[in-house]
Amino acid sequence: MSKFAEPMARLIDELKKLPGIGAKNAQRLAFHILRSSDDDAEALATAVRDIKAQLRLCSVCNNITDVDPCSYCSSATRNLRLVCVVEEPTNIAAIEKTRQYNGVYHVLHGSISPLHGIGPEHLRISNLLRRIDAGEVDEVILATNPTVEGEATAVYLSQQIKRPGVRVTRIATGIPAGSDIEYADEVTMLKSLEGRREI
């Protein structure tokens, strides 16, 4: 028999499924929720329900959104002809942090991953190709991760996207800003030499 009342045990089991939450943490969170006000507990339950009910993928770019098209794709001030391709929706925030990028996005929701049986046919790219074929795109920036899988994904996409009049670029990889080249590993150093530019 469980040492907790059934509703408590059930909440703990559900919380344990969250990333980074072990049994101890799940218990602590569950007791916190039990002790919190009815309003707070209700707000949490509603937020959890709404995220599934109200969020979906943008039909244009696959970003997670509550309105379709998403706020980037429907923006009046963004350059809709410049598309940055990323692996995950969370990558968008990293690019937005620069406050320099004014284009839109395309989210793949993953990358080619042979060890997980994920090949190019599993990438969500049909709506990207449709946008390109409709002549709506001048440049595609491939911003997948600089890993074997991200690199293979970028190379595959570049082959699929190639059309006259569409520029395909890959983000640069190299020495992190503010660091010391003395501590750069050989791959990073090599990539930054390859990606050098005239000043």
Binding site: P19, G20, G22, I112, S113, P114, L115, H116, G117, G119, P120, P146, T147, V148, E149, E151, A152, V155, Y156, P176, S179, A184, D185, E186, V187, T188, L190, K191
Partner: protein, 246 residues
């Protein structure tokens, strides 16, 4: 416990908790070792690209009392798959090497010959030229883990197959003569058997200039994968992905 060090090949890494990575290595000193790289997911500074699968590294690690997983202290890159071009086919080929080693290696059992084979094959596995090194790897791997039957004689009657036709089947333990072949067997061409013999005599570096089409020695690779999958009692994810490559 004392810090150990070894040359190693990174096989796989999985996220563990919020910021850590669980990494499987093929070390030269101790064979397959699994360990935890603390904060490797968050702070790339400490490990950089060194934990990328199929990177050859100098690994520093420490065993912890009564714990199965080692603590990964640091990694220096010796050779990275990212230094040469990566395309989809090469990514699948690299994944295949990782999957085979991860599935076949027992924990903490050194295999120096297999380690040297792996490092040499990874060096010759280039974009646009994957089939020779892959065939070489599968052949030698099957032999070094002890699953390769004698290719010169029929597994049923023992008759020599030199100069005569040879057949293989998913459920047979070796090659068969025309008289003993099972229903729905496939033939292994004399050319592929000659290539196997050549690969047993020749270092992979010597053959590295050869660019094979996918069709070359495809029967030999199929035969080897059937043997390995039968021993593993499971299908290899990357084998079917290699099949689908153009």
């Amino acid at each position: 416990m004392p810090l150990k060090d070894s040359e190693a090949v990174v096989l796989r890494s999985y996220p563990l908790r919020e910021a850590d990575l669980l990494v499987t290595f093929f070390t030269r000193a101790e064979g397959k070792v699994r360990g935890v790289a603390r904060s490797a997911k968050k702070s790339k500074r400490r490990f950089g690209g060194a934990l990328e699968p199929l990177t050859c590294v100098k690994l520093y690690y420490e065993d912890r009392e009564r714990q199965e997983l080692a603590r990964i202290d640091s990694c220096e890159i010796l050779d990275s798959p990212l230094t040469t071009a990566v395309d989809y086919a090469r990514a699948v080929a690299l994944g295949h090497v990782a999957e085979l080693l991860d599935e076949l290696l027992p924990e903490r059992e050194a295999n120096d010959a297999l380690f040297r084979l792996t490092v040499a094959v990874l060096r010759s596995l280039r974009a646009g030229a994957i089939w020779m090194p892959l065939t070489y790897f599968e052949l030698w791997l099957t032999r070094l883990v002890g699953f390769l039957p004698e290719l010169g004689e029929c597994v049923v009657c023992g008759q020599t197959l030199n100069g005569s036709r040879a057949f293989y089947h998913a459920l047979a333990d070796g090659l068969m003569c025309a008289g003993d072949k099972r229903l729905a067997s496939s033939e292994m061409t004399p050319e592929s058997r000659a290539l196997a013999a050549q690969m047993f005599r020749t270092p992979v570096e010597t053959m590295a200039q050869q660019v094979w089409p996918k069709s070359k020695a495809a029967d030999l690779r199929k035969f080897l994968i059937q043997i390995l999958e039968r021993h593993l009692e499971k299908k290899l994810v990357t084998a079917s992905m290699l099949d689908k490559l153009q």
